[in-house]
Symmetry: C2
Subunit: 469 residues, 2 copies
């Protein structure tokens, strides 16, 4: 049979089983699945949208047995292209968008068992009905499957960790043996009986299996929240504030976000009706958030505790000013940074992390490296200081030299990895857009281990856009 | 050369490199490394005690290349025999006791990088000097290497998780390639760049590699602690108390330990000078601990918050009595249970866990199973209710029928795994003493995955006492 006839037969089989909603072949229908949140999009052979675990397993088996290449996609909010089909158009997208056959909340166990297609915001709404919350806080609204595969971080990692730390179980479908379901949804808080597929799948960026369902740990909903914006003279002063805050009010710190003057300026210019929070200028500012599940009627008052702590700090050298305001008013500035920076010109983004103890020194050297390599770059960095994470976002004039940008990227990553023992992808994970750096920085023994796993679950290399070996 | 001559030559090589402190061959010297904390001991060919990472790597390479079987041992506090040499006497013990070449604390990053031979208590002392603490709380005093390999849990898992959750990195030595060092000590709080040896080694029970060094996350030291013992009519009442407590004071709950009347009675009879905490009897009691890193001079008063909450609860049905007392006085009772139960007769222990929402139902059915199978058993159970963990410890008259005990073990494990979707080893891990249950309950796909990993890091099966495939 000709390749064309084979392909037609496969399409017919898929349509027969999944229905018209389940298979997208027309260019217009495929378009949104071919786009990428930050980079250039790709092209897909077709898109399948299974609606149940059984359909997902059947799809993967059918495509794998037909020799097709597959890329899994959730809400396509990832920033490294791991869920975007490649440019050649040879891959099928397996979308988990319609995989919504399970959302089961266990209030007493404080967990939710949920299909890959649900969004973060939907988990939060379902949890809130029971006075519970899921720990992740992001500007984006990813799907459950995408979050697990990416091991998403976010702004509140300092308090509750990332997805891995809040993952009580996961089920995934493998391409080899084709369509096999692995993992468990038992969702225990304590279980020490060997390997755990959930831990392996989390942070494997779609390379080993397609996440179908997960069990997520929930926490009691936060009943108090207090926020302040503090202007400081320098990053070392900000780091000293973090230590002081943790020492006094450590139990309540749920975010400690640094923002450079440029980043804040970009956000304030971008937001309609926003006013400068500080009368004077400042080099750097920190958004501090305290939260607690303990209600105010117990006598615990986070606003008062934050004020009390701030008053002491304002006497200290390098602490310039502080504004206590409603959480949404302060977070609005912080959340506007990414978008506002993108609006200023060509965005070149670095998602890196070092030890907290190296944060200030790394940032200083990174700024120096930028100045030396691309003097026209405008640095609008912000960071999760409590985790040592920094989004070193640069704005360049449109049409800047691509080779020079590539050189800067390597210099910054070399600085973070080789000089500071840090990470060149703190939370965005690995995808086609940083695959070459994975190969540059990953230890041979770790790549060999990944190779063995690839070989076990995908010997024909049909799945995903990432090669971890 | 004869086997004897080969063996003599190996011994001479080891002694030459490691010195007299580094190689133990005499029966009297080996004895303490052949004992087991809970089960029958074994026999070792010899014991090597490397003092540096280089020596460890050299030892493992030398032994592996000589075709020797190896079992790694830390402080030998494990309860499933994973670090005890087998009975045949064919294994070499690689002790990490002298592996103390590194203890480096980073107060600003809140982490400690530490060699495998350090004990939990030593980590705590080093951390305390900087106002920090490591999250684990146990009756035993394991080594760092043992804790990582076991993925140790403990009484405060409800608040801070187990070892895996507090592990920022690890380095290990493989038997294949012989003596290769893998993993990383970068110790980042945020790093999403692929596979992590630390996560793989944690909870692999010495099967894949010998942990040499680890980076542990530290927390600010707890500056307040408030404890109470609450007598309840039944376990469902205890579970309802947990929900109420988390709803009101969730941020501070660091332990919620259940104790049956029998367990408490055993502890109180065992402790010199102990008096019954409650005037009346009770079926079940709960030890509640609240802790906070927030000092009292902020106005936060945990004692007052606990009292306030307790007063409300005492009006509720099924809550019989409550005692607020100093932490060490209450924990003393809880910590005495294991030892006191062991003193009463033959101990048969189960370390199991279910979802919190199944805890009460599981316990009731488990007690029924015990009564039906071994009516003479005296059940002295205690549990980490917040994690759904229960130590279902039984006391039997000496000389009880071993076959009947085996039958009970299978019945209890079948109940927990098959009926309740729970774990037959919640925190003790896997070793020779529950290997058969690993084989009974583990999914073929998980065993196949483990097989691939075994094959990669130990194709000749020289390392450890556990087979995860």
């Amino acid at each position: 049979m000709s390749v064309h006839a084979l392909s037609q037969r496969l399409q017919a089989r898929l349509q027969d089983r999944l229905g018209p909603q389940g298979v997208l072949l027309a260019a217009a229908d495929k378009a949104s699945y071919e786009a990428s949140a930050r980079h250039a999009g790709g092209h897909a052979q077709g898109v399948v949208r299974p609606a149940t675990l059984e359909e997902l397993s059947w799809c993967v088996r059918t495509l794998a047995e037909a020799g097709c290449a597959i890329v899994a996609q959730g809400a396509a909010t990832g920033l490294v292209g791991a869920a975007t089909p490649s440019a050649e158009g040879s891959q099928w997208v397996v979308s988990t968008q319609r995989l919504r056959d399970r959302l089961q909340l266990d209030p007493q166990h404080r967990s939710v068992t949920v299909s890959a297609g649900y969004r973060l915001s939907e988990i939060q709404r379902a949890a809130a009905e029971h006075g519970l919350t899921f720990a992740l806080d992001l500007s984006a609204d990813p799907s459950v499957g995408g979050m697990v595969a990416t091991n998403t971080g976010g702004s509140r990692l300092i308090r509750w960790g990332g997805v891995r730390d809040n993952l009580l179980g996961a089920q995934a479908v493998l391409v080899h043996p084709p369509g096999q379901t692995v993992g468990s949804l038992r969702g225990l808080r304590k279980d020490n009986t060997g390997l755990d597929w959930a831990q392996l799948l989390s942070g494997s960026f779609g390379a080993f299996g397609i996440v179908a369902r997960a069990v997520l740990r929930l926490h009691p909903v936060q009943k108090q929240i207090a926020t302040a914006l503090v202007a400081v003279e320098s990053v070392p002063v900000a780091m000293a504030l973090l230590e002081s805050l943790e020492d006094r009010l450590g139990d309540f710190v749920s975010a400690f976000e640094g923002m450079s003057a440029h980043a804040m300026h970009a956000a304030l210019s971008h937001l309609p009706g926003a006013t400068r929070p500080f009368a004077g200028g400042c080099e750097y500012a920190v958004l501090i958030e305290l939260t607690s599940a303990v209600p105010r009627d117990t006598g615990l008052d986070l606003d008062a505790l934050l004020l009390q702590w701030l008053e002491g700090r304002l006497q200290e050298r390098g602490v310039l000013d502080a504004v206590v305001d409603k959480p949404d008013r302060l977070w609005r500035i912080r959340h506007a940074i990414s978008e506002s920076v993108q609006a200023l010109g060509q965005l070149v983004a670095f998602d890196v992390a070092v030890k907290r103890s190296s944060f200030a020194a790394f940032r200083a050297q990174a700024l120096e490296t930028v100045r030396a390599t691309l003097p026209q770059a405008h640095v609008c960095d912000f960071g999760h200081l409590g985790d040592g994470g920094i989004h070193l976002n640069l704005v360049l004039p449109p049409g800047s030299d691509a080779q020079r940008i590539g050189l800067l990227r390597t210099r910054i990553y070399d600085l973070v990895v080789h000089t500071f023992g840090g990470s060149y992808s703190a939370e965005h994970g690995i995808g086609p857009y940083n695959q070459e750096y994975y190969e540059r920085y990953t230890a041979p023994s770790t790549r060999a281990l990944a190779g063995v796993l690839h070989e076990h679950v995908d010997p024909h290399r049909r799945l995903g856009n990432v090669r971890l070996d």
